[in-house]
């Protein structure tokens, strides 16, 4: 254990995803020996990002304003919604240029181990978007791992009575993976070959 503030810093860094106690310690000591101006700049962007960036009122994507760039773009097809787990998945799909509809960011996937159930995801917001009948196709692009599949199954069952076309990205994506890490070509193909989800 280190003294007061140093240990506090290590503890805080250790809470970040992918940072174990050893890395936390290394980062902390790096910061301690870094140029004060650099650290100030880092502190500044951290605060700024928290103040300025928010989540789109409509789709949950990160946005600089009330609504994100995609939701404000009137050229995008309002009849199709692509459901993803995280904002970074929106970025990955946008890179493929295969998709011209809108998104809905859930904020994760159902995972009882981590205590995440449907109420913890932006599912109520999704249902509200589907209520007016304008959307005709829902593409479930949650990750191709167990939790992503379970979330997709749950959503497909939930919206079944609404009678929309529900599709799932084609397999070919590396199973057990993260959508974010699928390369553009594979992800693009997965979009083209999406299949009807029958539950």
């Amino acid at each position: 254990m280190y003294e007061g503030v140093v240990q506090n810093l290590i503890d805080e860094l250790g809470l970040l995803p992918g940072v174990g106690p050893k890395s936390a310690q290394r980062i902390a000591f790096h910061l301690l020996s870094a140029d004060p101006a650099d650290v100030k700049r880092l502190a500044h962007v951290l605060l700024e990002v928290k103040e300025r960036v928010r989540f789109c009122r409509v789709c949950g994507n990160v946005a600089a304003e009330e609504e994100c760039r995609i939701c404000r773009d009137t050229r995008r097809d309002p009849h199709v919604i692509c459901v993803v787990e995280e904002s970074k998945d929106v970025v990955a799909i946008e890179k493929t240029r295969e998709f011209r509809g809108r998104y809905h960011v859930l904020g994760g996937a159902i995972s009882p181990i981590e205590g995440v159930g449907p109420d913890d995801l932006r599912i109520r917001e999704l249902m509200a978007r589907l209520a007016d009948g304008q959307v005709t196709e829902l593409i479930l692009a949650t990750d191709p791992n167990l939790e992503g599949e379970a979330t997709a199954t749950y959503l497909a069952r939930l919206v079944k009575p609404m009678g929309l076309k529900v599709t799932r990205l084609a397999s070919g994506l590396p199973v057990g993976g993260d959508l974010e890490y699928a390369d553009e070509v594979t992800l693009g193909r997965a979009f083209e070959g999406r299949r009807l989800l029958d539950v």
């Binding site: 159902i110 995972s111 009882p112 205590g115 449907p118 167990l146 599949e149 379970a150 199973v175």
Partner: protein, 413 residues
């Protein structure tokens, strides 16, 4: 196939060792505790990505070292592949094939296939159902490496579903009455009870799907293994009642082609089954789903998944009697060996002689069974034997010999 080279760094008792190996028989001889089993354990680890002696990786890393490295050059049909594994306890292991990293260690499964005989095998007959499930699943993976993925998926569904059931139990007991302080508690409180049940059906569907895949494969495996094990047992113990085996599932609904699960006690001798086709995956999936519904109340009370391949067993019989609890020590040993020999036969028939590893088994056998076993294994492409004294290696199996003493391995013949 055979292993042409084995190299260990900080594995078990070895800080560094290099071994050139040849096809045929190789014996590692030395007093107790000198590191013979450690050598073959490393090879078996490359084949299965797990130790047959310990459930976790930590004991595999040499005391004081932070990771172990196992390298093996595997020759199959004159093609040589270099497999490298870095074992990092508590962190992800890493694997390389011909010096290029592979995405997951799992991707090297199938490159080296081993069948290992060890004194621990007695647990296959005398031990818990988990030992026999592992035997079946390891063999499935050796036959078709994709089953490593199937099993991992199934285990993950079980974990998720288990967490959900437990959270439902917790909510039932007490949390409901109290003020709902959801935000105060991280973890389970986040998924409330109503929530939990609404997703249970989703997990049921996934459990049934992955479970059916595993179950179908195990049933098929048992059917293929049964005659081979019976044959091997008859060779090892000609005077004993015949060896039989039945898969004991946990399904509560009837499925075409699947006999009801056998009970624990003595039973009518299993009728030599007419060749009824085994049930398919979709029938099993349906049956798993239906069986889950039947036990739902009990599951919600106990917070565990009560139906599925993780609760199944392989019932071994000698004649009408179950082997477990009835067979003598010698009979149990013969049965354990017969299971391994059956596995060897099966793998050999399906492409590529697996490497046979016999860890300390001859010392446990009487002269006749020693001879039978030696005769059966002698023709294999590569046989690796460990023994405390040279006399424990049967004469039919004379070959190369390494002496193992105080951490050094020296070729003497």
């Amino acid at each position: 196939m055979h292993v042409a080279h084995l190299s260990l760094t900080d594995f078990r008792s070895y800080s560094s060792v290099e071994l050139a190996l040849e096809p045929g028989v190789t014996a590692f001889v030395g007093p107790n505790g000198q590191g013979k089993t450690n050598l073959v354990e490393a090879l078996a680890y490359v084949a299965t990505l797990g130790s047959f002696r310990v459930a976790t990786d930590a004991p595999l890393v040499r005391q004081g070292a932070s990771r172990a490295i196992v390298r093996a050059a595997v020759v199959r049909d004159d093609r040589r592949a270099l497999v490298e594994l870095e074992i990092n306890p508590g962190r992800a292991n890493r694997a390389r094939l011909n010096r290029s990293p592979v995405p997951r260690p799992r991707d090297i499964l199938g490159l080296l296939r081993t069948v290992l005989f060890s004194p621990e095998d007695l647990a296959l007959v005398k031990g818990d159902p988990a030992d026999r499930r592992r035997f079946l699943d390891d063999l499935l993976v050796a036959r078709a490496p994709r089953f490593a993925g199937v099993r991992a998926d199934y285990d993950r569904v079980l974990k998720q579903r288990g967490a959900l059931l437990r959270s439902a139990v917790q909510t039932r007991h007490g949390r409901r009455q109290g003020p709902r302080r959801q935000e105060a508690e991280a973890g389970f409180a986040a998924a409330g009870a109503g929530d939990a049940l609404s997703t249970l059906e989703v997990w049921d569907a996934h459990l049934a799907r992955h479970g059916a895949e595993l179950l179908a494969a195990r049933l098929e495996l048992v059917a293929a293994l049964r005659p081979l094990v019976a044959k091997a047992y008859a060779l090892l113990a000609p005077a004993s009642a015949p060896a039989g085996m039945e898969y004991r599932h946990t399904l509560s609904t009837a499925v075409d082609g699947l006999p009801p699960a056998p009970g624990d006690g003595p039973a009518a001798p299993p009728v030599t089954e007419p060749a009824t086709p085994l049930p398919g995956r979709s029938e099993l999936e349906e049956a798993l789903r239906a069986s889950l519904l039947e036990v739902r109340q009990a599951e919600l009370e106990r917070g565990v998944t009560l139906v599925g391949p993780h609760r199944d067993d392989l019932l071994l019989r000698l004649g009408e009697l179950p082997a477990r609890g009835y067979a003598s020590h010698g009979e149990s040993w013969s049965f354990a060996l017969a299971l391994r020999l059956g596995a060897y036969d099966l793998l050999r028939a399906e492409g590529g002689d697996p490497v046979l590893i016999l860890d300390d088994v001859f010392a446990e056998l009487d002269a006749r069974r020693r001879r039978s076993l030696a005769d059966i294994v002698a023709p294999a492409e590569q046989v690796l034997i460990t023994a405390a004294v040279p006399e424990d290696v049967p004469a039919q199996l004379a070959g190369a010999r390494f002496d193992v003493a105080e951490g050094s391995v020296t070729r003497v013949r």
